[in-house]
Symmetry: C2
Subunit: 227 residues, 2 copies
Amino acid sequence: MHRTKVRVATDVLDANATIARANRADFDRAGVRVVNLMSAPGAGKTALLERVLIDGLPAVRPGVLEGDVQGSFDADRLSALHVPVTQLNTDPGFGGECHLDANMVRSALGAIALEEIDLLIIENVGNLVCPAEFRVGEDARAMISSVTEGEDKPLKYPLMFRACELVVINKIDLLPHLDFSLERFLENLDRVHPGVEHMLVSARTGEGVDAFAGWLVAVARGGAPAA
Amino acid sequence: MHRTKVRVATDVLDANATIARANRADFDRAGVRVVNLMSAPGAGKTALLERVLIDGLPAVRPGVLEGDVQGSFDADRLSALHVPVTQLNTDPGFGGECHLDANMVRSALGAIALEEIDLLIIENVGNLVCPAEFRVGEDARAMISSVTEGEDKPLKYPLMFRACELVVINKIDLLPHLDFSLERFLENLDRVHPGVEHMLVSARTGEGVDAFAGWLVAVARGGAPAA
């Protein structure tokens, strides 16, 4: 039973990798670099994007692909910022997919004006498990971890913390009010992904957001670590 | 393509429902009532359980089934409390399942001394999407939502907020430090699940934890709303 299931999983991931390469080829042809932004629900992906897009990215024209199970709450928030935003809902696929896959992103490509942007930021469905398994054709992956989620998260969701080039530690304005040891979190992160780049930010106060914007600009210019 | 996928999904959920009924029959025979505890990663399920188990449940003998992708961090935390804890890892099944299903719980039944407990608390994998779709044979479902996750979560993950008999709003000690309107959260909750029972707690300060313990005792005695 398990063996069959693993084989099905391998087939699914192989098919996904093939479509992800096709997406990547299309993005490359259009000169668009792509970031896959992942986190648990409520870690602050949208709030961080809002901050970055309000401040602007120097000499980079960003676009956003919003992945949600249903609704367009985040896309509505971001579209007020005069940035092209495309909504992608996962609920027609299954009972509501808990992640974006390469084929879903492919189905949205026709709705994105790739010639008008240099950087596509894909906001994945809030989930610390499955998004890590499905590449979508991105150049780099960033995952956002909120300090309110606890120090143990790298150990409990190691694949997610491994499958990224950047870990953004968000909501650091709340540190004085939490029993959270940043040192222990970083030790746990180092155990699952030694040497991964990380940065401390607060989307609420704006602290550290410029560093994240700088990372996005570096990806857009081809400078950040390739996935 | 989508139609095939939906049919596969229906088959999977039908098979799950059959096994969930078998689990339920076994629990009923053993006189054990079962709670399925669900939330996003880091919402505080384990911390809340710790509090409840330290204080104790009057005249109820609890046991815990810990669902995690891998590792036994939460089980290790809880087993210090002299409560029978069984670890169930989802990673052998797929690349790491993002939820418990009825068959996984069934596979763990032999490891749980049902005759020694009255209430089995199943801590699901931290995820706001798939756990809501898979019943495991429980009598009641509680979902924990942390105020740090934002007011929009009921609208973004409606199935999860619908598929439960209780919504525990956790980390209320942080309310003074957040831009979080409890009123708006409750309005959003009312839109997706009108009239669902909710309670405000802080696993950290202990505020409201007695109400959650009371709810668990009511389930154990057969008094809480049936799923």
